[in-house]
């Protein structure tokens, strides 16, 4: 029983830390209607950059987090430029960046596919040294703290003039161009900010698990979409923008809790990706099928 409790606590911590990435996916997928596949690469990049900063350059773990976020932003900007200036479809632009990042991430880690952070300080270990909390409690407090800061930042940002113009870009590009907004710029900015959050999340996960791995971002976009879908199902009734952002992080937590439970029930960890993909696919299929069924059912030959 205590084993279950520990793995559930672990799952909640992971869910919160990955939740920062889900916020990033939320910006592109929900606000701008772009499925951005850069995420897999920029998440790993955040982790790799963070690990190398701490281990090789002895940079403060908090500063390293900032660098991880900046690296993610750069990755997002590349996708943004490919998509806006060069008009490559968003999905393809994201795939190109993601594939390129695989090699770059290996280079960052000096050709190794895994960089452990066993004996170095992390934000968690520093926090534990100050407060004397348990490892999980420390990670949870840091994760929730950063999530609150990021949600507040996004809530503020998307209420500003630029942020409103970005939301309008996702709504109706023709309209916002007619109001004098360069939609290339808003899309570029959105992809940059989104991947900045993803890189930050990669750095956090790296520090919490005490290693960076070249494959740590694989499937991140699907996890992000699954978390958004779960959050939407649970909290979709709430309309305010703040609650939508919170629901993204909550969805992430629920996702990792579900994951921990099915793994405990004996599911092969390798099948987890299939389950994630199935969750997203079903969530996307259901509304379409419902609509088709409704149209079919409402047909009558003779009218009223």
């Amino acid at each position: 029983m205590s084993g279950l409790l520990v793995s559930l606590q672990d799952a909640v911590v992971q869910g919160v830390l990955w939740g920062i990435m889900v916020l990033g996916v939320y910006i592109t997928y929900k606000l701008l209607d772009i499925a951005d596949l850069t995420v897999d690469g920029s998440f790993a990049m955040g982790g790799c950059v963070c690990a190398v900063m701490i281990l090789n350059f002895h940079v403060d773990p908090w500063v390293s987090l900032g660098v991880a976020a900046a690296a993610g932003m750069a990755a997002g900007a590349v996708t943004g430029l490919l998509h806006t200036i060069f008009e490559i479809p968003a999905i393809l632009a994201g795939i190109l960046t993601q594939i390129g990042l695989w090699s770059i991430n290996l280079r960052i880690m000096g050709g190794k596919s895994n960089v452990p952070l066993l004996k170095t300080d992390t934000i968690m270990s520093k926090f534990i040294a100050v407060t004397g909390l348990s490892k999980q409690a420390a990670a949870m407090i840091i994760g929730i703290g950063i999530a609150i800061v990021m949600i507040s930042f996004l809530y503020w940002f998307f209420g500003t003039e630029i942020g409103s113009a970005m939301r309008a870009t996702g709504n109706n590009q023709a309209m916002i161009r007619a109001q004098g907004v360069n939609t290339n710029w808003t899309k570029l900015l959105a992809l940059t900010i989104s991947n900045g959050l993803v890189g930050l999340s990669g750095g956090l996960v790296c520090q919490s698990q005490k290693y960076a791995d070249i494959g740590m971002g694989t499937g991140a976009i699907v996890i992000g979409l699954a978390a958004i879908v779960i959050g939407d199902v649970l909290m979709g009734k709430l309309r305010s923008f703040a609650s939508k952002l919170i629901s993204a992080v909550v969805g992430s937590v629920i996702y990792f809790v579900i994951r921990a439970m099915v793994l405990r029930m004996g599911m092969d960890a390798n099948d987890m990706k299939l389950l994630s993909a199935a969750i997203v696919a079903v969530a996307l299929c259901v509304p379409v099928m419902m609509n088709k069924w409704r149209i079919k059912k409402s047909y009558t030959e003779g009218g009223e």
């Binding site: 500003t160 003039e161 007619a178």
Partner: protein, 265 residues
């Protein structure tokens, strides 16, 4: 005010689908001119408005507003001078955003957008008064999403948004064509009120010949990417629909070929 000189545009050049959309347009608008634009299918009416707004680049020619050459400016830069209402009521507003948010976006047309709050409390009373004047009750629904509004309400809102910050030029691209007759009439009335009140220079495409004659101080007729008839003042007021049809046949050597226009005469 608006000066268009010898503007040409060909779509799909050097392909089997080549279409000469604009064949040397020359048009000069004076400050406060309210011009109605009519013409058959594919005459280039919408293309002309889109070229002025900068939706596509022009092949050659010159477009000036108040002596400023905007021929090569992108759409978002020209928005500083131009307010627009589209034919499709869905196009002019952001459906997922509140009425007041849409208005705040429009109120900042052509201005730099920074990190100031997207909608200031002080603006809201201005929006309230402006919405009240529309007489559609929208002033009490300012926090509603625009997606909840009907086509006519959305079109009236788009019109209001286009003129919230006075544009140098207002472009109306058959903005009542997708509405039912009663709503179309209402939106047209609102249009005339706003244009008169702000003394706006306006180009309005319409498929309704009676409207084209009754509204505004000037009328131009287009055919095959050219302006073939341009009439204003007293002469315009005396026009009849039959005169327009005859004029068209004289100028083009063809029968008038706009189904909707024929039906609407």
């Amino acid at each position: 005010m608006l000066d268009i000189k010898n503007v040409r545009k060909t779509f799909n050049k050097n392909t089997i689908n080549e279409k000469k959309a604009l064949n040397g347009i020359d048009l000069h608008l004076n400050e406060g001119d309210f011009v109605t634009v009519i013409g058959g299918n594919g005459a280039g009416k919408s293309t002309m408005l889109n070229m002025i707004a900068g939706v596509y680049p022009i092949d050659s020619g010159k477009i000036q507003i108040d002596e400023i050459n905007i021929s090569r400016d992108p759409e978002y830069k020209r928005a500083k001078y131009i307010g627009r209402v589209f034919q499709d009521p869905m196009l002019g507003t952001a459906a997922g955003m509140e009425i007041q948010e849409n208005m705040a976006l429009a109120y900042r047309r052509g201005q730099g957008r920074g990190l100031a709050w997207g909608i200031r409390t002080s603006e809201k009373s201005y929006y309230y008064e402006a919405l009240k004047k529309l007489g559609l009750g929208l002033q009490d629904r300012m926090t509603n999403k625009v997606g909840l509004l009907s086509g006519g309400q959305r079109q009236a809102l788009t019109l209001l948004m286009a003129t919230l910050k006075k544009p140098k030029l207002l472009l109306l691209d058959e903005h009542t064509a997708a509405l039912d007759p009663k709503t179309a009439k209402k939106v047209l009335e609102i249009t005339q009120e706003i244009v008169k009140e702000q003394n706006l220079t306006t180009l309005m495409i319409t498929h309704n010949m009676k409207d084209a004659i009754q509204i505004g101080n000037r009328l131009v007729m287009m055919h095959e990417g050219r302006i073939i008839y341009d009439v204003s003042g007293e002469e315009k007021k005396k026009l009849e629909v039959e005169d327009l049809l005859k004029k068209f046949e004289e100028a083009s050597g063809e029968e008038f070929s706009n189904d909707r226009m024929i039906l609407a005469k």
